[in-house]
């Protein structure tokens, strides 16, 4: 079974590398966010697979925390990046919430 887990781990690592390339070269800031998001998902899977590879799959808590923190980081990025937003629309949304 180790061979299956290691192929899977290396495949996910390769996929992480590709996401990293996109995060490093941009070109727009959105590409970076996209790549970071995908990288986070890959990390979750990677931790899961490594847990099986080292024969302690009860460490999936960590993967769960990764999924959560990734989401929060992405929301933070979108929230605090200065996007040009229409002020009128913003005020309207303020009332709705």
């Amino acid at each position: 079974m180790e061979i299956v887990y290691s192929i899977s781990a290396f495949g996910i690592l390769f996929s992480m590398m590709l996401a990293l390339i996109r995060a490093a070269q941009g070109p727009t800031v959105f590409d970076r966010i996209l790549a970071v998001n995908m990288f986070g998902t890959m990390t979750v899977l990677f931790i899961g697979v490594v847990g099986y590879l080292t024969n302690r799959p009860d460490f999936l808590d960590i993967a769960l925390v990764y999924a959560l923190m990734n989401f929060i980081a992405i929301i933070a990025v979108l929230r605090y990046r200065d996007f040009s937003v229409d002020p009128a629309e913003e005020a309207e949304n303020h009332e709705h919430s």
Partner: protein, 191 residues
Amino acid sequence: MNFIIAASSATHDASTIGGHGTFHYILIMALMMTGIYLILSRSNMIKSIIGLNLFQVAVIMFYVSMGKVEPGTAPILMAEDVPHAEHDGHHDEAHDADSHDAPPAAHSPDPKKDVELGAHTLDHSKKVTVGPTTSKVSKITYSNPLPHVLMLTAIVVGVATTALALSLVVRINEHYGTIEEDELEDKGVLI
């Protein structure tokens, strides 16, 4: 395919001749170097703080890597090392005395035997023979928990101090209108 045996026996060979034994530490030191360079070379304060974080992660990794025992696993006792002890608060004196003459090492004294035992428990495909649960002679090797404890708290303290640095940056920006050390120097604030 039994990678754990291979890895651990390789380490045992290497420990005598100093081969790839300290390789991890060199990797970590190189990471520290990039952190130091980032701190010193950048005039932007946020970049310096990021560099400080990288440096901190490298130091933490150095500590944690010292706690690793090669055929080991995380220091959370597995089911066979957890005797179903009495939960009524009474403590068995005989049990206590028995545990005092237990082997003191985090691994059994004979490294060869240790490797074999570790392989037996960690090999995924093989059947694990559950040992006598009252005995303190464990077949499982655990990594050293002490560096983990120290570094766990260090990370949380690290984020608290990072926040302090960031709040200073915010105040500097409000007062002087810049977060570049070079520009502060030009203004005569920083000497």
